[in-house]
């Protein structure tokens, strides 16, 4: 049996349609994971009544069960209570809930590491809890949590391949389809692996770049920087 490069080249356009879906699922799930993570972490730290125990239960549930089981549960289980979601929507929900649970733990650690002294400085200036979290704890804690959040983010991207299990037309599923008719396992799975490697590698490169830009210990005020404020699309007037 010989290695068929022509087959890979021939199948690339088809794989690219799957890649597009994988990128869409990943992007949507990462944004939602980020939001769930920040909100959940703040709720946990503030010990918000009712919500805080719910968050604890949710995180435990997600972390202690396999993601594939969660995906099956959402896809096949929810229709029983009258909620029929498409594969794509189920995929985004499942990945976001999974990534969000891990992100909560990532951010909780980071937010808690922000010195109590800084909170007190904020409160002493007359700021309320919302201001203190929004402008002090979250921006600083986010930077601390970012490296662990990027790990979670990369896992979310890789785990999107499990959605092949419910027939979402993402990268892994297109590869499986192709194999089913061609039987060219080695060619297809090798290509699949290389594509995932490239996606995650690019992602980790991007995260490393963001991490550098976020690090206030490295930046000098003379250099242009990528600030958290900028990310939040909100700018202070430049002094002077």
């Amino acid at each position: 049996m010989k290695f068929d490069i022509a087959f890979i080249i021939d199948q690339l356009p088809y794989l690219m349609t799957g890649l597009k879906m994988t990128l869409l699922l990943s992007f949507a799930s990462l944004v939602l994971s980020l939001l769930i993570g920040i909100a959940g972490a703040v709720i946990r730290i503030l010990k918000v009544p009712i919500l805080s125990p719910i968050i604890i239960g949710y995180v435990e549930l997600i972390r202690n069960t396999p993601l594939l089981v969660q995906i099956f549960f959402l896809y096949f289980g929810l229709p029983f209570i009258g909620l029929k979601l498409s594969g794509t929507v189920t995929g985004i929900v499942a990945l976001s809930l999974w990534g969000g649970a891990y992100a909560i733990e990532n951010f909780r650690g980071g937010f808690k590491s922000v010195s109590k002294n800084l909170n007190e400085a904020g409160y002493s200036l007359g700021l309320n809890t919302y201001h203190v979290y929004r402008h002090i704890i979250i921006p600083i804690g986010f930077r601390v949590s970012f490296p662990s959040f990027s790990n979670t983010a990369m896992s979310v991207v890789k785990n999107s391949s499990l959605l092949a299990g419910i027939g979402v037309l993402e990268l892994t599923f297109t590869a499986l389809n192709s194999v089913a008719v061609s039987f060219k396992y080695i060619e297809m799975f090798l290509s699949l692996g290389v594509i995932y490697l490239l996606i995650v590698w690019v992602l980790s490169f991007l995260f490393a770049l963001i991490e550098r830009k976020l690090d206030f210990k490295r930046r000098s005020s003379k250099k242009a920087f990528f600030s958290f404020k900028g990310m939040a699309n909100k700018t202070y007037g430049k002094a002077g």
């Binding site: 002294n117 007359g126 700021l127 201001h131 921006p139 930077r143 005020s221 007037g237």
Partner: protein, 244 residues
Amino acid sequence: MTKTKMKIENVHKSFDQSSVLRGITTSISEKEATVIIGPSGSGKSTLLRCLNRLESINEGTIYLDDQSFMDIPIQKLRTRVGMVFQSFNLFPHLSVMKNLLLAPTKLQTSKSKDELMELGYSLLDKVGMKEKAESYPEELSGGQQQRVAIARALMMEPEVMLFDEVTSALDPERVNDVLETMKDLAKSGMTMVIVTHEMGFAREVGDKIIFMDQGVIVEEGTPEEVFGNSKEDRTKAFLRNVLK
């Protein structure tokens, strides 16, 4: 007789089982510098933190301009009573100017952004940090950070300023810069309450000295009375130890 700015009546405070303040009664006069001295663990920092409600009190009452603390919304109170800490506590992710602007831009609507910036520059100028407006806290020395922290607290235009051992974490050579800034502030008529271990400074700047030990006020009076002619043995022993 100067006007009383803050009145502290029979204040008790305990953490769990340990009683930290045990019946503090005194007053803070307007436009005066009141300096609280005493050994570690005497409750002086706790008393200071009660004055802007960073700590709640278990018993007693504190008045600001004859209004009970409980009748003043907590955030409003804190803009009227500013505080500077031992560890500076500048926000590390914000430039000096943004440290100054954060709270007033979130809280005040009466001043425009430009007016606040102007106020910021004038306060930085006052503490000798104007050229560092665009720097980040980590680029500054401890003394510089502390002067920025003073300017940041002044941005809220407080009526009273609290200083909690603000020179304790500083390089000895930098202590003076901060003390000079505080002297200027005292001269300008700011009502100040200062917890410090700098006895020379206390004597020079203080209009009133309060000596605390074990959660009570042992002695209070003018610097001459407390430093030059203390009545209590405990005060004498403390001063002998710190002044030798």
